[in-house]
């Protein structure tokens, strides 16, 4: 019986996996998984509700990004995205790859300084980076088709994620490094935060190199499809 109780809470994990695989709406799947693993661990329903409510409200900082929406919405209404695209088109030296690589490096460096909430999907990617990237690709002379536009947007979001994650890990005063140090301290191993942070540096550099190369390759593919498209139009 005790052996069974040890493994039963894993049912919650199964609910999550099944729910995502079957493409149900993720929110009810996640809440159901919490309830299932609570029940499987033998907790009374009142405790499960309280646990759910407490964990939810204690993470409410995760909703802060919605505060950017009114300002961004007003600017978009006045044509911010259109202006960004038009403006990028006039900058001759700025290619898609250069733009994204500069953004990646800036994001990593800012995150290393602990400034990871300065940029983000709501703050910078939707209003600025994605339209800039689209504008930069369209300089090839052929407008983006729908699939290419979506790919460029998704790649911009991916670049923001990678820059953030693999910069943040080097920052010593908050988050990852302190979590590691705190965990070791609990288990009787004392470490300097700086020594932990330094060992994340090789990965930060590798992340930059790998993603920069992928950016260049993706940029070339977009440019090539533009040339082929232009040739198609010329031969018509």
């Amino acid at each position: 019986m005790t052996v069974l109780l040890h493994w039963l809470p894993l049912l919650g994990v199964l609910v999550v996996i099944a729910g995502f695989a079957l493409r149900f709406n993720p929110v009810p799947v996640v809440v159901a998984a919490g309830i299932v693993s609570g029940l499987a661990a033998g907790k009374p329903i009142g405790d499960i509700l309280a646990l759910l409510g407490n964990s939810f409200v204690s993470e409410r900082a995760l909703l802060l990004f919605v505060l950017t929406l009114p300002a961004i919405g007003v600017l978009e209404r006045a044509g911010l995205r259109e202006h960004v695209r038009n403006w990028i088109a006039t900058l001759r030296g700025l290619t898609f790859s250069r733009l994204l690589i500069v953004y990646l490096a800036t994001r990593q460096i800012l995150a290393m300084l602990g400034l990871y909430d300065v940029a983000g999907h709501a703050q910078t990617v939707r209003p600025l980076l994605a339209p800039m990237a689209e504008g930069a690709v369209e300089k090839r002379g052929k407008p983006l088709d729908t699939k290419e536009r979506n790919d460029v947007r998704a790649f911009s979001a991916a670049t923001d994620n990678i820059g953030r994650f693999f910069g943040e890990d080097v920052f010593i005063a908050l988050g990852a490094v302190l979590l590691i140090q705190g965990f070791y301290a609990q288990h009787g191993i004392e470490l300097e935060p700086l020594r932990i942070a330094l060992w994340a540096l090789p990965t930060a550099v590798a992340a930059f190199i790998i993603h920069a190369i992928r950016t260049v390759l993706f940029g070339r593919r977009l440019a090539r499809s533009g040339r082929n498209g232009a040739a198609d139009q010329a031969s018509d």
Binding site: H6, N25, P26, V27, P28, V30, V31, A33, G34, S37, G38, A41, K43, G46, I48, L49, A50, L51, L52, G53, S55, F56, S58, E59, R60, L63, L64, V66, L67, T68, L69, P70, A71, G73, V74, R77, A78, G79, L80, H83, L115, H121, V125, N150, A154, A158, N161, I162, F165, D169, A176, L179, I180, F183, Y184, R195, W199, T203, A204, H211
Partner: protein, 322 residues
């Protein structure tokens, strides 16, 4: 003094406004969804304080609220709300030009200033910004500053702020909520012993005498657990307690500093693969109006996979050498 709590009130106010606009248009589910969420955010502090004082009722009510949100989520269809005409936007863009950048850039700039120098803003012996979560307080402040600037530059009426904000909020729909729900799930998983069960499972499956097998099990375990939880921070203590400390450090003599740092970034690779990391992988899908829920993951998984191989190699070659 400006505190993070003020930012939460501001969020609740904005959500309540969005609920009201939806109510007026008879979009009942949307109105209820944002209304319940506004109540949860506004009452957050109360719930936590009551729990600390061992009054479970507010937290239980919050739990009921979370379940109500989950029930409403499938009804939050991403119906496209009427946007202004593209030709009108284009005309405004030509007229206003670079002035449009100002308010947009104010968001990162003001956040940066508060993050770097917030501690030095003292008026009459009172600190202007609370010490905890100062960057996030700065972010909230920067959003208000940017909104005022945006209204001034575009000469839009203040009501446009709420109307346009609500348009984007409804575009996000349930995706805005997922990060919080997942965090709540993390709390439940931790409290019900899911972590230790997973670590035990991994240990049953590998030959513990082989240092290489332990490194791989630790690294892939970090990735797998991060994929399930959507968060490397949740995976770290579980895998460290299950494999890292007993097998790698105590049995094979690994260097703890290197193991900790590389273990964590290996988990970060997992964050790039999973829809559970909703604020990074699902929220942007909604924000950028992409057609498929996994579009951002598709754009980044190759970087994550290559980096995972690099990390495992670094781990194997570094942790036993220093």
């Amino acid at each position: 003094m400006l505190k993070i709590e003020h930012a939460y009130w501001l969020i609740a106010l904005f959500l309540a406004g969005a609920a009201l606009l939806n109510l007026r248009q008879r979009r009942w589910s949307h109105a209820a969804f944002w209304g319940v969420l506004a109540a949860l955010i506004a009452g957050g502090k109360l719930v936590l304080e009551a729990s600390d004082a061992h009054h479970p009722l507010p937290a239980q009510l919050a739990g009921v609220g979370v379940i109500a949100l989950a029930a409403l989520s499938p009804r939050m269809t991403r119906g496209h709300l009427v946007e202004r005409d593209e030709s009108e936007r284009e005309a405004d863009a030509r007229r206003l030009g670079h002035r449009l950048f100002g308010p947009a850039l104010l968001i990162p700039l003001v956040t940066l200033v508060v993050a770097l120098f917030g501690a030095y803003f003292v008026v009459g012996g009172v600190h202007l910004f609370g010490k905890t979560r100062m960057t996030l307080t700065g972010l909230a402040l920067s959003c208000v500053v940017a909104l005022v600037a945006a209204l001034w530059v575009t000469r839009a009426r203040p009501a446009a702020g709420l109307a346009e904000g609500r348009r984007l909020l409804d575009t996000l729909g349930w995706a805005a909520l997922l990060p919080l729900t997942l965090a709540a799930l993390g709390g439940v998983f931790a409290a019900t012993g899911v972590g230790t069960a997973v670590a035990d499972l991994v240990r049953m499956l590998i030959p513990v005498d082989s240092a290489l097998a332990c490194v791989i099990a630790f690294g892939l375990g970090m990735v797998l657990f991060t994929v399930i939880m959507g968060n490397a921070f949740a995976a770290f203590p579980v895998l460290m307690a299950g494999i890292g400390i007993p097998l790698l450090i105590q049995l094979h003599g690994a260097n703890p500093a290197i193991l900790g740092a590389l273990g964590m970034v290996t988990g970060y690779c997992g964050t790039l693969f999973t829809p559970m990391a909703a604020n990074f992988n699902i929220v942007p899908v909604a924000l950028l109006e992409l057609p498929n829920q996994n579009d951002v993951i598709r754009a980044q998984w190759k970087t994550g996979a290559l980096l995972l191989v690099v990390n495992l190699a670094l781990m194997y070659f570094l942790i036993f050498r220093f």
